[in-house]
Symmetry: C2
Amino acid sequence: MIIKPMFSYAIRHFSSSMQQQNNYKTRLWARKLLANAELSRFYSKKKALNGKELKSAVIIFGKGAEEMEVVIPADVLRRAKIDVVLAGLCDNKPVECTKGLIIVPDCHMKDVENRKFGAIILPGGQESNLAMAESDKFGEFLKKREEESYIAAICSGPLALAAHCIGKGKCVTSYPKVKSDLESFYKYVDDEKVVVDGKLITSQGPGTAFLFALKLVELLKDKQEAKEIAKILLVDDYC
Amino acid sequence: MIIKPMFSYAIRHFSSSMQQQNNYKTRLWARKLLANAELSRFYSKKKALNGKELKSAVIIFGKGAEEMEVVIPADVLRRAKIDVVLAGLCDNKPVECTKGLIIVPDCHMKDVENRKFGAIILPGGQESNLAMAESDKFGEFLKKREEESYIAAICSGPLALAAHCIGKGKCVTSYPKVKSDLESFYKYVDDEKVVVDGKLITSQGPGTAFLFALKLVELLKDKQEAKEIAKILLVDDYC
């Protein structure tokens, strides 16, 4: 059939900005290296050594994390060539998210405990945020970086920040249903999808996750890059 | 420290609609069953036997799929209690998506080849769509279901449909950069984020993935349910 090769050709030569920009050899190497989860972790550890601390971010998530709030920031920041590490809160095993998606993290949080990051990102998801709130190790991880890194939380994520006394008195937003639990600790902002107060960035939920991620691109890189990525992604409410 | 238990309590009792609605015993059972990827596959096979064909969907994806276009439809449809199966195009092994996220599929496409689905969903991602376009098995999977199921493709996904002659002459949209490859085969629509023509649903890219998924909820369930989910997710451009 002639039609199939024709469209295969179209896909092969789909020279849009959605394409990865690595050259053939690099991609071949990356494919081999990333062939399975074990090797992926090794790759992340290697990346952790090459000193790109300022343009880097770690997304920490545990069982029950909101999958869209893990994946949207990871994808958007990687498009801005920010080195994103997905770190499992409890270990480096596959994580079952709140709606059943299973994501293989790059590493365990402890594997990057001595690494600096431009941003630390907390997706929502009740069970994951509860485990964060109850984890002393996670609290130490945050406190050690509170001065130097952006700390960004979405949905019910700000509850885990409050549990570790991060940013007391600052302006925040969150998933609206947890407002009452936060307003004694923070200045709560109702009418903004993303709130930035110094190094603290907060956002409301899955429907604001693109804007949350683009704000992080803006802060870690620049506004122009965030605008270009919004255009590529067809996100039309970022400005 | 008093603050941590306080916020742990708040998270535990976060009684929003974001919560899973299973009771304790069911959740305990589900947790044990879903403890690892192998068991997850077994779970999906069990679900495949219980006859919920009409309120079900399969998302088929291969290496290089656009992760947000896999995860957003999966999460949104599961919130509408649609039984969503994530099927690997080539096998049931973890799939590395285009920006490096590794997702464990529920099963291999061939594990559900005799099952009926309300919708078949094709995320974008050049490499994944190319593999779909070149796969006879995938073409057979689509053609067998063309009359009875919704077929939904986003981003460059419609190229894989065209490669298998699905819906010739119908109205479609896609990621704008692939328009020229599609307009000889379809009636191309530029100015709509989601296009429905009979059983064929198409959409533009990551930034339209929520609307694409909500349209599928509307078609598989009803408009009211889609509106409620949009509200829970804080997606404010669905109407």
